[in-house]
């Protein structure tokens, strides 16, 4: 076993600020949606708008960082049998006390399921939210880009649908990230310090 630096400073900053912004936007977004009243509608809408721009800015930096450092390769999907091995592990083997089929190292910091999940998050859920979000934000000016035919109801449908996916991801992610490491919480600690013990 050795302590290896798995997560760079920027990556950790990106992860946690993104987490905070996503949670903030889920809360304010569902208030705007009319699910509950917490901050007041106007306040919620203003925070949501502010957080949206911050998150888009953060995403731009993250894309740049991933592309320039080559870290984007960490999201290339694994072969199907390796993904299925992970599914089999979570579905059955974990209850039998069998060992984890995947072993982290510096160039493979995500397990095969994580790779696919994070790729989906960043390529589909994220863009679906912020593209529909920008259309939402500039709805009154859509005529300028020839999209005046696009009804707000459709934009809202995509935006809300993607928000539900994001919330679902968050629930699953929290469970897996907090409890799946050995001991529980080690992955969270690693995401804070950057270092994690990995097998040699």
């Amino acid at each position: 076993m050795a302590m290896v630096k798995l997560y760079a400073g920027f990556e950790r900053f990106w992860h946690w600020s993104q987490a905070a912004l996503v949670i903030l936007m889920l809360i304010t977004g569902f208030e705007i949606h009319g699910t509950f009243t917490l901050l007041g509608w106007e306040q919620a809408a203003e925070i949501h708008r502010f957080a949206a721009w911050t998150l888009i800015g953060l995403w731009a930096f993250a894309w740049f960082w991933h592309l320039t450092t080559g870290e984007w390769k960490q999201y290339i999907p694994s072969p199907m049998e390796r993904i299925l091995a992970m599914v089999k592990y979570y579905a059955f083997e974990i209850f039998q006390g069998k060992g984890h089929p995947f072993h982290k190292d510096r160039s493979h910091k995500h397990n095969p399921l994580q790779r696919s999940a994070y790729l989906g998050l960043h390529l589909f859920i994220g863009p679906a939210i912020w593209i529909s979000g920008l259309l939402y934000l500039f709805y009154g000016d859509l005529g300028g880009i020839g999209l005046e035919w696009l009804p707000l109801g459709a934009i809202a449908l995509i935006h809300t649908g993607a928000a539900f996916l994001m919330l679902t991801f968050l629930v699953a992610h929290l469970y897996l990230a907090i409890t799946m490491s050995d001991p529980p919480g080690a992955d969270v600690k690693a995401m804070i310090t950057g270092y994690e013990e990995v097998e040699d």
Partner: protein
């Protein structure tokens, strides 16, 4: 002692001078002191005599007025082709002017419109003073067909207060530009009393405070009516018959051909919210009228407005056989002459898409008496770029109609003749006389049909801190809950998506909980 007396004399003459010195001298920039005009030195017996004197200098004034709706009480709506105006339309207050002329025309800018024979081409019958009196002492007598009383006379008749005739000479010598009180003398009391008709115009607007009307605030901007209802040649801008729900001209500046300022945009522009305001506000103005947020409620000046008028119950007597009048909170809720009323203040408007197209149910038009009959209909939609969501007072009530011919009736209410409803309380006679006066045969069968009348709200603009907030509309049960044709965040949602979404989230939560518990149980099983 002598010097004290002379002091007193001086003081008295000073006070006297101040009292009689013309109003114009204090606050007007007029170049004419009407008290010095030779024509105005005579003892006027009647209003028309004053007008004659006015016209000897203001040669074109009466001709100008003859072209206005204020004079003709007739209005040709260019958009709909309908002939409107007080002379022609029906409403659900006192219903119609025909046969009730002397009472109704106490708010006409003329003298003597007491029946159909009134000469609309008479220049001398134009009443200059009702608009140009600056003393506040000129008042048309309520049943005088536009004349003030020239003898001391009681109003209401018999037990009312004695009204002295106005001092026409003094009033004529002090004429000036109309103020809020002049316009308000009629427009604040439309429908037969203070605040009855409009709800956003009532006696509180003589001297409104800031909360009631931010523009007319007597201690602030102190606008007169003409500040917005710009005038030229006695023609006054702004019309309820042909309203303008959106104004694309932007801020009106000198040199533009159309100087009409009777829209919010003509001063504020169409994106009026400054940089300090929420940036989203300006992006609402292409769909939401200014007044929708900025007149959050009407009848806010401490006066109630009439919201319901049921003529069908009129004519009742109390246990002692005396005509019945019931009052609540100082307002008549039942009057034997007029039926049942409801009054409200601080009324939340009703909101509708509005493109300025208002169509009236004209006299003689067949109505569908199976439901509520619209006195007027408003149009507009989300798709139409000229439509805005606009606030309305919807006046509702029940009024008489010819139930066989299916037309709204004209009740002959006022008069000394036995056909007048307020004399004999016989609907059959009153409706026959009223319909006949407008050239229709009465079938002899009548009933009362429920009607509604849409009144666009424009006045009583509140200070910005009292304007509506987002959540007033962006809410499931917000103010725009009934306004259709578009998706509004906070109000609308796709129920199916919400169901699927929450099932997915809760399903995942349930799944990971079961998974976690399973792991704990299996681990315990293995370790024991």
């Amino acid at each position: 002692m002598k010097s004290f007396q002379s002091c007193l004399r001086w003081l008295l003459s000073a006070v006297l001078f101040l009292c009689v010195s013309p109003v114009w001298a204090e606050d007007s920039q007029s170049t004419a002191d009407h008290s010095k005009f030779e024509q105005l030195q005579e003892e006027f017996e009647t209003g028309p005599e004053v007008t004659k004197a006015c016209l000897s200098c203001h040669t074109e004034a009466a001709k100008q007025l003859h072209k206005t709706t204020h004079w003709t009480w007739a209005f040709e709506n260019q958009l709909t082709g309908q002939t409107l105006g007080k002379k022609n339309v029906l409403n659900n207050f006192c219903v119609a002017t025909a046969t009730n002329w002397p009472r109704c025309t106490s708010c006409h800018i003329g003298y003597g419109w007491k029946d159909d024979s009134f000469d609309l081409s008479s220049e001398q019958n134009v009443d200059c003073l009702v608009c140009h009196d600056t003393t506040g002492t000129y008042k048309k007598f309520p049943t005088g067909a536009g004349h003030p009383n020239y003898e001391p006379k009681k109003w209401p008749p018999k037990k009312g207060k004695l009204r002295q005739p106005p001092d026409l000479q003094m009033i004529a010598q002090k004429v000036g530009k109309p103020g809020r009180d002049n316009c308000g003398a009629c427009h604040f009391y439309g429908g037969g009393g203070d605040g009855v008709k409009h709800g956003h115009l009532d006696s509180s607007m003589h001297k409104p405070n800031r909360a009631t009307d931010v523009h007319m605030d007597s201690e602030g901007l102190n606008f007169s009516c003409q500040t917005c209802h710009t005038t030229g040649g006695h023609e006054i801008a702004g019309s309820r018959y042909a309203p303008k729900p959106s104004d694309e001209r932007g801020v009106v500046i000198p040199g533009q051909p159309d100087q009409n300022r009777a829209t919010c945009e003509s001063c504020h522009g169409s994106e009026a919210h400054g940089e300090e305001a929420n940036p989203k506000l300006n992006s609402h103005t292409d769909k939401v009228a200014c007044v929708t947020c900025h007149v959050p409620e009407f009848a806010r000046g401490g006066r109630k407005t009439k919201m319901w008028w049921d003529w069908s119950t009129a004519g009742r007597k109390d246990a002692n056989g005396k005509p019945l009048v019931k009052k609540e909170d100082g307002y008549a809720v039942y009057h034997f002459k007029k039926g049942d009323f409801t009054w409200e203040e601080n009324v939340v408007p009703e909101y509708f898409w509005f493109d300025g197209d208002v169509r009236y149910t004209l006299f003689g038009e067949q109505v569908d008496d199976s439901g509520v009959v619209p006195i007027n209909r408003i149009q507009g939609s989300y798709e139409d770029p000229d439509s805005r969501i606009w606030p309305f007072k919807v006046m509702r009530g029940k009024q008489p109609y010819d139930s066989k011919n299916k037309i709204l009736a004209v009740p002959h209410l006022f008069g000394k003749d036995p056909d007048a409803f307020w004399k004999s309380f016989d609907w059959g006679r009153a409706l026959k006389a009223g319909l006949m006066a407008r050239g229709k045969e009465f079938s002899g069968e009548y009933g009362f049909v429920e009607t509604e009348y849409y009144w666009p709200i424009t006045h009583m603009v509140a200070p910005k801190e009292n304007a509506l907030g987002c959540v007033d509309c962006h809410d499931r049960n917000g103010r725009l809950a009934g306004v259709g044709g578009f998706y509004m965040p906070g109000r609308d949602r796709n129920e199916t998506l919400d169901l699927i979404g929450w099932l997915m989230v809760l399903g995942t939560f349930g799944g990971v909980t079961v998974h976690g518990l399973g792991r704990m149980v299996s681990k315990k099983g293995r370790s024991s």
